[in-house]
Amino acid sequence: MPSIDSIGENIFQDTMNRAVQDVFRTMLGKNATLVHGTGATDSNGQPWKHPVEHDNSGLQVVSTVGFIGDISGLIYLYLNADFAKFVASNMLGMSLAEVEEGGDEVVNDAIGELTNMTVGGFKNQLCDQGFPCKLTIPSILRGSNFSIEPVSGATRRTYMFDVSGHRLITDLLMKNSD
């Protein structure tokens, strides 16, 4: 059975970069630029801290989709509330006022689908490299001052993107299948 150890850091980063860029370019007509990416651990060999725990940008919309199979994991997408509305507005071809009128439900659904496509794009590339796996249904978390911790034994990689001046963080948590 293949192991995630056989996948190099640059492959993870390139795969994530391609997936994010493809989704933003196709669905929103926007460029996503990778600003920063981490390896599985920090320079002290410790897992990376939660990507937004020191961020004071207020309300966050966090969406996650998992992939299960020969390789398993979760990807969280972190967007602040304004960026989430911006994404929903561009995906749906609605004005910001229309999105606001639709409420959180409209934004949550759009961000859930954005995550579904991003994680799909990521894991489909892994499938083609010999790691078959399937997607799970998206779930959404809204709030501020919270942190999401991986279970022990999971590796964490975070990638920061710039989209039209907004910050997108993808948080990749992975575990080898037993």
């Binding site: 759009a110 489909n124 499938c127 249904i137």
Partner: protein
Amino acid sequence: MRYKVLTVDDSKTVRIIVKKAFKSYDCEILEAGNGVEGLAVAGKERPDVILLDITMPVMDGVEMLTKIKSDPELKAIPIIMLTAEGGRDNVLKIAKIGVRDYIVKPFKEDLLIEKVGRIIDLKPIAEGPVKTKSILDPCTILVVEDKPTIVQQIQEGLKHTPWKIHGMSSTGEAIDFCSKNTPDLIMLSLSLPEEAGFTLFRLIRASVKTKYTPIFGLVVKTEVNVQQNAQQVGFSAIITKPIDIPELESKIAKAMNLDTSKRYFDTQGDFLMMKLPENCTAIVVNEVTNYLKPKVAEAVDSGIAKTIIDLKEVKSLNMNVIKLLLTTMQTCRELAIQFALVGNDAVSAECKSFEDTRNWTFYTSLDDAKASLSKGGATAPAGAA
């Protein structure tokens, strides 16, 4: 019959995007949020195409697909997977169950339309009430021709029209143009190397956006076989080189179903103006004859009772034109409309040599003709005899 497209996806966002994509086409979009709902709608509505997601709660897309394929009543419905679940092996496994196509998200709306358009005959719908385009409205015409002289000749010949002629010298340029614009009419040279004109014709017809766009073939007059081939594959018209510009203009107007009446008929205050062009070909006479009765009736209906027949630009008369003028006068008399003729010296002189037209009198200006009718001119032969 209106086509029905069923979108089965747990994401309302995707369902909205799908609806938006098909907004300009004559079809009904049905929605379902999971496989169970999808099966119920499919059973009740019998859609013409199903767009199916895979990862959904309650019942996923693979289960729904399997159930549809085992239902004798539903199994013939074409299914396109629209899902983020990709990966070669995955796609192959699902394709084996029996799907017509597979789109991996993220997706462009154009791609969705293109794939669905291969299954059902998607027809664009006009936004708002349908309005016939007139000869005076702007139109986009694409000419694919590798000989710049021909493109120039067409541009020069049609420069008096509001039509924008875009010349492209290769099929690549033409495809690129069509992806960004929707031309109202396309002219393809059938002399392009390697029968590229025919290849491009098939590509244009395969695209939902240009499926119904009139396509003309440009071919040398003597190349009869090529003309026959073009007719067989379904070119809307064949234009032979050397190009007869008036004939081309007329064919374009006909293919685009343009209302050309404004070229000949107009209203100015309480006058109906009928104006004949410099060169009154058989096509022109035929067009004017067809518009004559409805236009005069329309004028009468709106309270107009005076007509000016303007022949000032006409170079010379022929029997067809004279017949048209006699019919016009007769129509005016039947509806008790006063009329006056405006002409030039040549036309006036020619009229003297025919028995039927000898007594016609022409004013030299529109103002004089209008003034004569305002004084209470007659419905008598030749306006101001």
